[in-house]
């Protein structure tokens, strides 16, 4: 397991290698993908990417929160939150990799 952080630059580099556009244009298109997803979500529409997952907006009502340090009750205003649900394809791929990961105790039987 490598435990590094993948960023936009890595995605752009992959697009550059796979598609053969310039590095600049590859980076712009990665940004365009993220922008289109963001703008769609901001407009209130959900985004569903097959074999990856879906992004949906959930509306949270007002509730009373409490400052854990002072104990003072404060109202938490209604808000929208973004929820990502991973598809089964993604979940399965992540767990297939786990079969030979050192963290498993070898009892991978179902």
């Amino acid at each position: 397991m490598s435990n590094r952080t993948v960023t936009r630059a890595d995605l752009a580099e992959a697009v550059y290698e796979q598609v053969g556009l310039s590095r600049n244009e590859s980076a712009d298109l990665v940004e365009a993908v993220l922008d289109d997803i963001s703008n769609t979500l901001v407009s209130g529409e959900n985004v569903k990417i097959s074999s990856f997952g879906s992004f949906s907006i959930r509306e949270k009502g007002e509730r009373i929160g409490r400052n854990p340090k002072t104990g003072v009750e404060v109202p938490i205003s209604p808000r929208k939150v973004l929820v990502f649900r991973a598809s089964h394809v993604l979940k399965d791929r992540i767990n297939d990799a786990d079969t030979n990961a050192p963290s498993s105790d070898g009892s991978s039987s179902f």
Partner: protein
């Protein structure tokens, strides 16, 4: 919006590119995120959000209907945390745009 709609939006805005290239770009982006998570890496896309993998230890669960004890194997779950900029955009008032 679905993946194919995302592809057609991008194609409309990039008429100089072949449709098959747009498809390849979109596939590559999600494939890179997926393979990073499979490796156990974190994917951080500032302003949009971050994908990571959380570990769940094996545990003894119970079938709530029958009360039967079942062994639940350890697993890894993909997780997404919304980026600050996107979170703020989701909650900004529509008329706040008129201030600019």
């Amino acid at each position: 919006m679905t993946k194919s709609e995302l592809i057609s939006h991008l194609a409309e805005r990039n008429p100089h590119l072949f449709m098959r290239d747009i498809e390849k770009i979109v596939e590559t982006v999600f494939e890179e995120i997926t393979s990073a998570l499979v490796r156990g890496d974190r994917v951080e896309l500032r302003g949009f959000g971050a994908f990571s993998v959380k570990h769940r230890d094996s545990r003894t669960g119970r079938n709530p209907r029958t009360g039967e004890t079942v062994y639940v194997a350890a697993k890894r779950l993909p997780f997404f945390k919304t980026g600050k900029a996107l979170r703020e955009r989701l909650n900004e008032k529509k008329d706040a745009l008129s201030e600019f």
